[in-house]
Symmetry: C2
Subunit: 82 residues, 2 copies
Amino acid sequence: MTTVRIYVTYKQSVFDPQGEAITNSIHSLGHDEVQSVKVGKFFDVVIDPSKKAVEESVKEISEELLVNFNMETYTYKVLEEK
Amino acid sequence: MTTVRIYVTYKQSVFDPQGEAITNSIHSLGHDEVQSVKVGKFFDVVIDPSKKAVEESVKEISEELLVNFNMETYTYKVLEEK
């Protein structure tokens, strides 16, 4: 089984309101050492590589379900193979 | 400036309903190579290390704001120092 972590973030050009709100909250707690915060989500996906190539599976589930390509982009890395 | 990525996940013992729902959706799209999905979020935080030590800042903002320690846990790594 292969575990991959798929990271989904807003595209550079898209405003991240949640990150902006968190930055403001952090500042109001007195943390002026923090310059900015951006928010993203990740999916740890366990794939059986004997059934489908991992790279192909990641591409398909990202395109079909996990990522809104209008606003978001993704990267992934393999966490574990065993 | 130092950029850190703080990963927030559910504790092992906590049920992840969103991950479960996504797993079901992936299966109904025909991806039987996927065994399970767990969901998490991350925060890319830019910190000025001349104002506060990065490790201390991460610990404080995680405890004060980003993490619900009843259900969640966190790790972080440094993405960039420049």
